[in-house]
């Protein structure tokens, strides 16, 4: 009886690619860039096509579904804004997102999200982990899960990169029981880790000696500490080494001014543009976070200010992914931990609302031009079949080629499903 599991095949393939890439590098090529030289072009293309990636846009705090994907104009809870038609007949979105309205044929939308947690502190991790059944372990965030299940691409770049405002660093807690090394490499404000580039005053030979010394110290350090901690510690240095080979990713001078303007010069625009470049460079999972969506006060002016930036940057991103053919191998998801209440509070805000909200997606494996689910006319509940985040995890894993009904993690000797075992993929969303 075979005990192998899908991700083990993934590792094998990756090892093969890694070996090929290493061979290529040894032959004078450089990593993945040399891959085509060792394979038939058609095979290389096929590998590239099948090497799926994921880009998650996370609107932290909870974007209002009523001011974005699921407007209810002229209803008691509809708010001040109008809705506008999209390129999908009969489907309207908020007037605050005219560019995304034109991209709707390239998107799939779920308007019947119904989740359990109305708190940020517990809701964020639940959504990020796909809220699996409680088995007494801490499940990984989506990015860490993908990092484990699919590993790095042939590029060798770190598999989980998080572009966020504020500070960066290596965020090991996202990895849960998988172990710290599957954490997120966070690029604070889209900047590379400090001192990434070797200073000119240090020659490459001197740098090599330093790295050997570091490894030696690491081994001594490791002897006195837990294995997973050491692994992560060592891994962070390896990641830094890898990134040093891709410093051009962070060189904003290489950006086209037209791209800057299309994405926007605000945080979200800059970070979404960096995300596209990270995806193009081969990062397996990129998360872009925009903070500050917890609009308990002044919700409508807040969305009037925020939504045009979302509209601008995400529509530019989708446009580029499709124009470059990346939609065939990149899954894009736009979501938050919940939506916002239909009821408008006394400070003209909307509060937390997991009862009926929306998630948007596009890219590989996704049936674009689809709207799944429906809310009541006043937006106060889901009218059709409700979907939880577990359904989405099954769907997204399936979209990137993972059989979430069969695949399992191993936590020591404990097999664990990779998504909620009572839930299933949403076939309407998949090709």
């Amino acid at each position: 009886m075979s005990h192998c599991r899908p991700w083990e095949h993934g590792w094998s393939r990756r090892r093969m690619l890694g070996a090929l890439a290493a061979g290529s590098a040894a032959a004078g090529g450089a990593g993945a860039a040399g891959l085509g030289g060792l394979l038939q072009p058609a095979v290389a293309d096929e590998l590239a096509r099948n090497d799926k990636q994921i880009l998650l846009i996370w609107l932290d705090g909870g974007m209002s579904q009523l001011e974005s994907w699921d407007p209810k104009p002229n209803t008691p809870f509809g708010g001040p804004f109008r809705s506008i038609p999209t390129t999908l007949p009969g489907i309207h979105v908020s007037e605050l997102m005219p560019k995304l309205a034109r991209q709707m044929k390239r998107l799939a939308l779920v308007r019947s999200m119904k989740t359990e947690d109305a708190n940020h502190s517990s809701g964020v991790p639940k959504i990020m982990r796909g809220h699996p059944r409680n088995r007494g372990v801490t499940y990984p965030f989506f990015g860490s899960a993908v990092a484990k299940l699919m590993g790095p691409t042939a590029s060798g770049l770190p598999p989980y990169v998080w572009v966020k405002p504020g500070n960066g660093g290596f965020i090991s807690k996202h990895a849960g029981f998988l172990g710290a090394r599957y954490g997120a490499l966070a690029l604070g404000d889209g900047k590379p880790p400090a001192n990434l580039v070797r200073p000119d005053s240090i020659t490459s030979d001197a740098d090599r000696v330093r790295q050997e010394l570091r490894k030696k110290f690491n081994r001594q350090f490791a002897d006195r500490r837990r294995g997973d901690f050491n692994e992560a510690n060592s891994y962070v240095y390896d990641v830094a080494q890898t990134l040093m080979k891709h410093v051009e990713l962070f060189d904003e001078k290489q950006l086209k001014e037209t791209d800057r303007q299309r994405y926007g010069t605000h945080d979200l625009g800059r970070h979404a543009l960096l995300a596209r470049r990270l995806i193009e460079a081969g990062v397996r999972f990129v998360q872009v976070t925009s903070y500050g969506w917890d609009t308990h006060g002044d919700n409508f002016n807040s969305h009037a200010s925020r939504m045009p930036k979302v509209d601008q940057s995400i529509s530019a991103l989708i446009e580029d992914l499709f124009d470059r053919g990346l939609d065939e191998r990149v899954l894009v998801v736009v979501m938050a931990e919940f939506g916002r209440t239909p009821r408008i509070n006394g400070s003209v805000g909307r509060d937390h609302w997991p009862n009926a909200w929306s998630v948007a997606m596009t890219g590989c494996g996704i049936r674009t031009g689809t709207v799944v689910g429906e809310t009541l006319a006043d937006g106060t509940d889901v009218k059709s079949t409700p979907y939880d985040i577990g359904h989405m995890f099954h769907t997204w894993f399936s979209a990137v080629g993972l059989d979430s009904a069969e695949a399992q993690y191993m936590n020591g000797t404990q097999p664990l499903p990779i998504a909620h075992d009572d839930m299933h993929k949403v076939d309407e969303l998949l090709i």
Partner: protein
């Protein structure tokens, strides 16, 4: 040595709440008609609500329909019979006979492309000016709704607009706390003044603090009100009013009317008793109704009994109405009433007798 006894401070008289009117939806603005017979209000249900003050007991009468989205602003014609109302879908409407049998005198379905942010009527009641989220300022004939002037391409989302009593100048306040002065009829922008502190940017959100503009004292004073924003998300601010000399635009006096985690001045009006009546709203339950004498930094009366105050109006007889939002209006998740219904919030209207009035609160 014993301290000298402090002179007894006489507590100034305070306004007394006479009665409260119920409204089943949230309101953004309330005004008394020029004749004083009717209280009119607009809000989240796209209609003009009316309360007949001359009835034995104040009662709500038929609504005036026609608007969409929210009725974002409403003003009465000084000395006239018209009520001007604007909504968030761009409709501008003039209603005649609102104290009796109302009829729409004129309207523009698309006076602006979307949210009409502000509306101001000239002192003589002959012109009104509107500012939209579309970045356009328009001046209209109050009598027939004819477009008189149009100022296009305002560089930012306009939050506030006012027309000078002489009708030769319009001022606007935008999302970035910039005060602009435009000359009529050409519509040329002749000055820009940044009101430091009335704008905040973080995490892809601009929070605008300049939300209300009013000329006062026959145009010799310009009032810039709103708040000094401190954060995005909850959009907290210090409620702030600046009084500026006109036309020099020098800040003569500033009153900061709350803590950093409070909110914005939502409305204000000059009371014939010689003071400003002001309402503020921000953090849940942080609404204030306060009375402030000219040149003072602290109000002589302040109550926080009403949750989140959004508008006020002063009647010719001195009574003041304050619209608030109901308490317990906040809540994450599906907070429901006792019957299990998911209900909208609503705006009670509190009617006050001015300080020193002998009027007694209504029984019951």
């Amino acid at each position: 040595m014993a301290d000298a006894p402090k002179p007894t401070e006489k507590k100034p008289p305070e306004p007394r709440e006479l009665f409260k009117l119920d409204c089943d939806r949230q309101l953004m603005v309330a005004r008394f008609t020029a004749c004083g017979r009717m209280l009119v209000a607009g809000g989240y249900d796209a209609s003009i609500r009316r309360w007949d003050l001359c009835a034995e007991q104040t009662v709500e009468v038929d609504r005036v329909e026609g608007h969409h989205g929210w009725v974002s602003w409403l003003e009465v014609q000084p000395g006239g019979d018209l009520v001007f109302s604007a909504d968030t879908w761009g409709r501008l409407q003039a209603t005649r006979g609102i104290a009796g049998t109302p009829e729409i005198a004129w309207h523009h379905e698309q006076a602006h492309d979307g949210w009409i942010r502000s509306l101001s009527v000239s002192d003589d009641g002959q012109a009104l000016v509107t500012a939209g989220r579309d970045g356009v300022i328009r001046v209209w004939s109050a009598v027939d709704g004819k477009l008189l002037h149009q100022l296009k391409d305002h560089p930012a989302d306009v939050f506030a607009v006012a027309i000078h009593p002489e009708k030769k100048v319009i001022v606007t306040g935008d999302l970035f706390g910039v005060l602009r002065r435009f000359e009529l009829p050409g519509g040329k922008c002749v000055s820009e003044t940044s009101l430091a502190g009335m704008h905040f940017y973080k995490r892809i959100q601009d929070v605008g603090g300049l939300r209300l503009l009013r000329f006062h004292d026959r145009g010799r004073t310009l009032i810039c009100a709103g708040g000094e924003p401190q954060a995005t998300g909850r959009a907290i601010a210090v409620p702030t009013i600046h009084w500026l000399d006109w036309p020099g635009l020098k800040i003569r006096h500033t009153a900061r009317l709350g803590a950093k985690n409070h909110g914005f001045v939502f409305d204000l009006a000059w009371h014939p008793g010689g003071y400003w009546a002001v309402v503020t709203s921000g953090q849940p339950g942080s609404g204030q109704f306060l009375l402030l004498k000219p040149g003072q930094e602290k109000p002589f009366f302040n109550t926080t009994k009403m949750s989140n105050c959004h508008s006020l109006a002063v009647h010719g007889d001195g009574r003041i109405v304050v619209t608030a939002s109901n308490r317990n209006s906040q809540g994450n998740g599906a907070v429901r009433d006792k019957r299990g219904n998911y209900v909208a919030n609503f705006s009670p209207l509190h009617v006050f007798a001015p300080p020193g009035s002998e009027e007694k609160p209504a029984a019951g």
